[in-house]
Amino acid sequence: MFKVKMLGAVAATLLWTGAAVAQATVELEPGFSVDKELLAKAQKEGKVSYWCSLTEPECAQAAKRFEEFSKIKVEFVRLSTGGILTRITKERSANIHSVDIISHGDPPVWETIYKPKKWLVQYVAEGVKTYAKEYKDPEGFYAAHWMIANGFGYNTSQVSAADAPKKYTDLLDPRWKGKIAMPHPKHSGGFNEAVTILSKMFGWEFFQKLNANQPLVTIGSQFNLKPIIVNGERQVALHGADALFLTEAKQGKPVGIIYPEEGTVINQIFAGLVADGPSPNAGKVLMEWLHSASYQTTVAASYWLVPHPDAKYPADRVPLKDLKILTLPGTEAQSATEAREKFSDIFGG
């Protein structure tokens, strides 16, 4: 009898706490809930300013979806790393606080500029707690919310899968002379990560020998390698964003992607909550969503990699767990800077 009473009390307690939890959070879309009080404060702010790093249609789509379920307006601006860096530097020096969430790649920028300058606040979204440690700042200032896996994008009408390069050192073979394209680390932070990693792995002789094969050096991010390969101006992209090549291949374009045996360089795209933003609570709600499995499943549908273990990938994409990955920690800023200069000494620029 006593036992039953005890059980009853436990059950009642559980029910009560369960109800309390149910009361404190609100489900905004299937699988995504936020704190009710936080949402109320956020809705009072009414809008959130977000510097988005995906392509514009992707940013617009995400903004629209978020606005629909949260009733919070998203003002997004699409900018690349250089643009964000210059802009936030100038904004801060003029004491302007226009943005709540910034997002871009380049780990050293986050570690050696934003953190010491205290431009970010610590905020660990629920989803971030599920990430592997490589994909988040241990101090909680920033975490990846999507990632670019870079391999050898190649033109399948010019190169067969069997003949395509399988590892980085294959690219040194004279048969690839005049057939390779790659970005410049002075213009692509993502490629700068790769150059730093590869120079540590193989030494600078790798790039000296690569130079003998006269690779085409493009301006802008690695995204600009895609048209060069699709059009057949060059046959193989060193550091091609796999998502772009997978998308093109799905649309019937003659391109494929190969993940180098030595490992795939991953560019993490971080998001951080800005200190003294105009809408700190709305910023938190949006941040919770950016780190949710439901949002990241949408991002993964365009073949990007995502850090959330519960996000679903399309069937024709190698999931994150099956890739041998190479990443550059943000603390490697010094070697990244040296790598840019060394690269420029060899390839010019």
Binding site: S49, T55, E56, P57, A60, E75, F76, V77, R78, S80, T81, G82, G83, L85, T86, R87, T89, K90, E91, S93, A94, N95, I96, S98, D106, P108, V109, T112, I113, G178, H184, K186, H187, G189, N192, L216, V217, T218, I219, G220, S221, F223, N224, L225, K226, P227, V230, N231, G232, E233, R234, L244, G252, A333, A336, T337, S344, F347, G348, G349
Partner: protein, 564 residues
């Protein structure tokens, strides 16, 4: 000789207006440039340093880049004049067939954003996949490419296509203003058409030719698009591409401004040389008794002339748009966009799915209209003040008005940002900051066009008005403005077009609600979406063509470069 000081400029209302314009100019230009100068001497913590200049001067790669920049802009300046002068002359003074068509096409090439031209030429003349090279290989069976656009020569070529219209517009409008008397006199004295042109016409438009050279030279010096898209793959780095790299991590804005400011000295030197070469009095060609210019009969020679002009505009505008359209409308590039290979998808995407394209277009049009109108009013008054030396120190006006022309866009944007994000003027986040940016950046175009026109108008007419009792402002408004209408209109048109395609400042200054069309276009380039980029570029061209057509209807025969 200072014929007008204290007379045409004498009354209070006029003096006040001249001063107002000069003060406005000083604020507009000196404020952002002042911030740049400050930044170049700043150590990042607010202290004074020379380190930025030392870093800029001690790196061999910046000297190499400076040499490449000089080669590029000198070649482009000279070639621009060589291409633009016959083109402008043929349209303005001869009976060459298809004049109006050639003119519209030349203007179309002016409208085309530079990186669209560059992308189109990579598709056309890329060493491996370029259409022209593929064609050449399949016809001749040879291995090598016919023309490798990814080279120094290729960069000069594409930059020329972007810059020669500057020279074209300014030379065209000068040719309108020449009276026929001198040419008639030469003809009557037995000179042939060719000799008349060589001995009379060309020397008369020499100020405009020089101005055209200066404009094309300066534009090539600060251009980013083709040096980036063609120069970098060609491993030919120029100052602008090196400066651009300084905005990446680790950002070195101080070094970037230290690298840009010496360009101001180059401008000053160029403008000084120009002034010395031209002197002042000798080129007055519009007098009170001007008769309309005659049409010169080229005889059989009008056909080779036509072919030459046609080739120029096909390279600069025609091919670009054919290529962009085909690229956007083909499923498989390299085959004709017809039948199963045709797709409307890319056009649909940018028209309906790309918010920034719609929003941007509206903002761009508002900004271009506003900037062009204000720039012409301000530029016209300033040119008048400077050319007629109405104020003490008027010589400085010309230099100041031309200064924004030579600061690379992205660096200038930083100056603008610093200038208009703190009291007394906080414009960031509104369209006003973009308006001020465009006005400042393109004032040189309005100024230079007005100045060239005013230079060729004799002050005699103004003096006559003054003697008859007209005030300074009345004289300016009733006598000078009607006489230089052509130059003012050219200036308006140039500022309008350049505002529509301005990118480098916009990209730092736009916000969610103030996105502009060029940013939308560039964004597509940056994400590797060339087919959509081509589609949007093509749509922009159509819209611009409508604007040009409206210009024709509204302005009639006084439209840019047209024989009145």
């Amino acid at each position: 000789m200072t014929p007008l000081t204290g007379r045409a400029g004498g009354d209070f209302a006029a003096q006040a207006s001249w001063w107002l314009a000069v003060v406005l100019l000083a604020l507009l230009i000196a404020w952002p440039i002042g911030w740049l100068v400050l930044m170049s001497f700043e150590d990042g913590q607010g202290g004074f340093t020379l380190a930025n200049y030392i870093r800029a001067a001690s790196a061999q790669r910046y000297w190499d880049a400076a040499v490449n920049s000089l080669i590029l802009s000198t070649s482009v300046g000279v070639l621009s004049v060589l291409v633009a002068t016959p083109l402008a002359w043929a349209i303005a003074r001869t009976n060459m067939p298809g004049r109006r068509f050639i003119q519209v096409m030349a203007l179309a090439s002016l409208i085309t954003p530079g990186f669209l031209t560059a992308v189109a030429w990579i598709l056309l003349a890329g060493p491996n996949a370029g259409l022209l090279n593929q064609l050449f290989r399949s016809v001749t069976g040879l291995e090598g490419p016919l023309f490798n656009i990814l080279s120094m020569q290729g960069m000069i070529f594409v930059t020329l296509l972007e810059c020669f219209p500057f020279a074209f517009i300014i030379i065209s409008s000068a040719l309108q203003n020449i009276s026929a008397e001198l040419e008639d006199a030469a003809n009557i004295s037995g000179a042939s058409t060719a000799r008349t042109m060589w001995v009379i016409t060309l020397p008369l438009v020499r100020p405009a030719i020089l101005a055209g050279f200066v404009l094309a030279f300066l534009e090539a010096l600060v251009l980013f698009s083709s040096p980036a898209i063609i120069g970098v793959p060609a491993r030919t780095y120029v100052l602008t591409t090196q400066i651009w790299a300084l905005f990446q991590f680790p950002p070195q804005l101080g070094v970037a401004s230290a690298l840009s400011l010496p360009l101001l000295l180059v401008t000053m030197a160029l403008l000084f040389v120009q002034r010395r070469l031209l002197g002042r009095r000798g080129y007055v060609t519009v007098t009170g008794k001007a008769s309309a210019a005659r049409v010169i009969d080229l005889g059989w020679g009008r056909w080779p002339m036509f072919v030459f002009c046609l080739l120029v505009v096909i390279a600069s505008a025609g091919l670009t748009y054919v290529v962009l359209f085909s690229y956007a409308a083909s499923k498989v590039w390299g085959q004709l966009p017809i039948g199963a290979n045709f797709t409307f998808e890319n056009f649909r995407l940018v028209l309906f799915d790309l918010d920034s394209a719609q929003k941007g277009l509206k903002n761009s049009l508002i900004l271009a209209l506003g900037a062009a109108t204000v720039a012409v009013v301000l530029g016209g008054i300033l040119a008048y003040v400077s050319e007629r030396r109405l104020l003490r120190g008027a010589w400085a006006v010309g230099f100041l008005a031309m200064a924004p022309m030579v600061i690379p866009g992205i660096v200038f944007a930083v100056g603008l940002f610093s200038a208009y994000t703190r009291p007394p003027l906080i414009l960031y986040g509104t369209l006003w900051i973009l308006f001020v940016a465009y006005l400042t950046k393109f004032l040189p175009l309005a100024y230079m066009n007005s100045a060239t026109a005013i230079k060729s108008v004799s002050p005699d007419l103004e003096e006559a008005a003054r003697i008859s009792g007209a005030g300074g402002l009345t004289t300016f408004g009733r006598i000078t403005v009607p006489l230089v209408k052509q130059g003012l209109l050219s200036g308006w048109f140039l500022v309008f077009i350049y505002s529509l395609r301005e990118l480098s400042s916009s990209i730092l200054l736009f916000t969610n609600n103030t996105v502009v069309a060029s940013v939308a276009v560039y964004d597509l380039y940056e994400t590797g979406a060339w087919p959509q980029l081509s589609a949007l570029g093509f749509i922009l061209l159509l819209i611009n063509t409508v604007v040009v057509a409206v210009g024709y209807v509204v302005l009639g025969k006084s439209f840019v470069g047209e024989r009145p």
